[in-house]
C-alpha cells in the first residue's frame, strides 16, 4: 500500500505540470488550483522566486497553502496514530497494518512539505501541492481506512466474544437451574441473539478471512479512491449493519437476564 502511494506520488512529482492535468481529468474540480492547470504549462520555465505566477498564484501563495494542508494532515494523522495505539480491540496484525499506512503518510507529508517549501518554481510547487491530495488522500481514504478497521475490530474482537460468552452462560442457565424461566419470550430473545451474532460475524467477515472486512479496507489505495470515490461505502454500510446488530443483541442479552433474575 505504501509502495503504491509512493509510486503514485513519485509519478505526480516527476510529471510536474502533467500531474495537474491528470488530476483534473480524474474529476478533481476543487477551486484552489483548478484554473492553474492550463496556465502552468506556459509557466513551466518560470523563474524562481516568490514573484513567479501561475494562474494568478504566486510561489509563496502556493507554498503557504501547501504548508497549511500538510500541517492539517500531520495533526490529524498524529491524532489517529495515538487513538490507534490506544485501541485495545485492534488485532496486532490490523494495528500494524493501520500504523504502517498512517506513519507512511505522516512521513510522506513531512517530506512533501519540506520539498514544496524548497520548490523554486510555481509549476513545481503546484504539482507537489496537488500530490498532497491525489497521492495520499489522507482525509478521503487513509484516516477513514484506519477508523473503519478499528470499528470492525471493536465489533469482532470487543463485542462478538462477549456476546457469545453471554449466550453460552444464558443457555446453560436456561437448560439448568433456570429452566422454569425459559418462556417463549425468552426463547425468542435467545433466537434473536443467535441471529444478531451471526449477522455481525457475517458483516465483518465480508471479503476474505475471519476479519475479511478489515483486510479489504486495508487493501484500498489512493489510486483506487481516485477512480472510485465511493470505494469505502460498502465497508461503511457493513460496519453500520454490524453495529446495529450488536445493539440488538445487547438488548436480547439484557432482556433474558431480566427474565431469569
Amino acid at each position: 500500500m505504501n509502495a503504491a502511494k509512493g509510486a503514485l506520488a513519485a509519478v505526480a512529482v516527476a510529471a510536474g505540470v502533467t500531474a495537474g492535468v491528470t488530476a483534473g481529468a480524474a474529476g478533481l474540480t476543487g477551486p484552489a488550483f483548478a484554473q492553474t492547470t492550463a496556465s502552468t504549462s506556459a509557466n513551466t520555465n518560470a523563474g524562481p522566486g516568490t514573484s513567479s505566477r501561475a494562474g494568478g498564484h504566486t510561489l509563496s501563495a502556493v507554498q503557504a497553502k501547501a504548508a497549511h494542508a500538510v500541517s492539517q494532515r500531520v495533526a490529524s494523522l498524529n491524532r489517529a496514530i495515538s487513538d490507534i495505539n490506544a485501541n485495545k480491540n485492534l488485532t496486532s496484525a490490523d494495528r500494524s497494518a493501520v500504523l504502517q499506512i498512517l506513519n507512511g503518510d505522516l512521513s510522506a507529508m513531512n517530506t512533501l512539505g519540506a520539498k514544496i517549501a524548497a520548490d523554486t518554481t510555481v509549476s513545481q510547487a503546484v504539482a507537489d501541492y496537488r500530490s498532497i491530495f491525489t497521492g495520499y488522500r489522507v482525509y478521503a481514504l487513509a484516516l477513514p481506512q484506519a477508523r473503519l478497521v478499528a470499528a470492525a475490530d471493536d465489533l469482532s474482537v470487543g463485542v462478538v466474544p462477549r456476546l457469545t460468552d453471554a449466550q453460552s452462560r444464558l443457555q446453560a442457565l436456561l437448560s439448568g437451574k433456570d429452566a422454569s424461566k425459559d418462556t417463549p419470550a425468552v426463547q425468542a430473545s435467545m433466537a434473536d441473539l443467535a441471529k444478531q451474532i451471526s449477522g455481525i460475524t457475517t458483516a465483518i467477515s465480508a471479503g476474505s478471512g475471519q476479519n475479511g472486512l478489515a483486510t479489504s479496507i486495508l487493501a484500498y489505495t489512493p489510486a483506487q479512491w481516485n477512480a472510485n470515490h465511493s470505494l469505502l461505502d460498502p465497508a461503511h454500510t457493513q460496519i453500520q449493519t454490524a453495529r446495529a446488530d450488536a445493539k440488538a443483541a445487547r438488548a436480547d442479552v439484557k432482556s433474558v437476564i431480566q427474565a431469569i433474575k
Partner: protein, 87 residues
C-alpha cells in the same frame, strides 16, 4: 454450703470445657459438622447466581464499551471523509 457452691462451679466449668466455651462467656460456639439443611443449600445457590449475574453484567459492560468505541470510530471516519481532500 461452700462445698456445695464449689462443686456446682466445678461442674459448670467441666461442662463449658466440653463445649469449648469459657464459663464466663455468653458466646455461642460455632457449629461443628452441622448437617446440611435448606439454609445452607440456598446460600450456595444464591452465591452461584451472583457469580453468573456478575459475569453476564461484565459481558454487558464490555459490549457497551466496544460498541461505543465502534460508534466513535465510525464517527471519526465520517468526520475525516467530510474534510476537503481536493486541491
Amino acid at each position: 454450703m461452700n462445698r456445695l457452691v464449689a462443686a456446682i462451679a466445678a461442674s459448670l466449668a467441666l461442662g463449658a470445657a466440653a463445649t469449648g466455651c469459657h464459663p464466663s462467656s455468653n458466646a455461642v460456639p460455632p457449629p461443628v459438622n452441622r448437617p446440611a439443611g435448606n439454609s445452607t443449600a440456598n446460600s450456595v445457590a444464591s452465591s452461584t447466581d451472583q457469580s453468573d449475574l456478575a459475569a453476564l453484567n461484565a459481558d454487558l459492560a464490555g459490549i457497551d464499551a466496544a460498541t461505543q468505541a465502534a460508534t466513535e470510530d465510525v464517527g471519526a471516519a465520517d468526520q475525516a471523509a467530510a474534510e476537503n481532500d481536493n486541491p
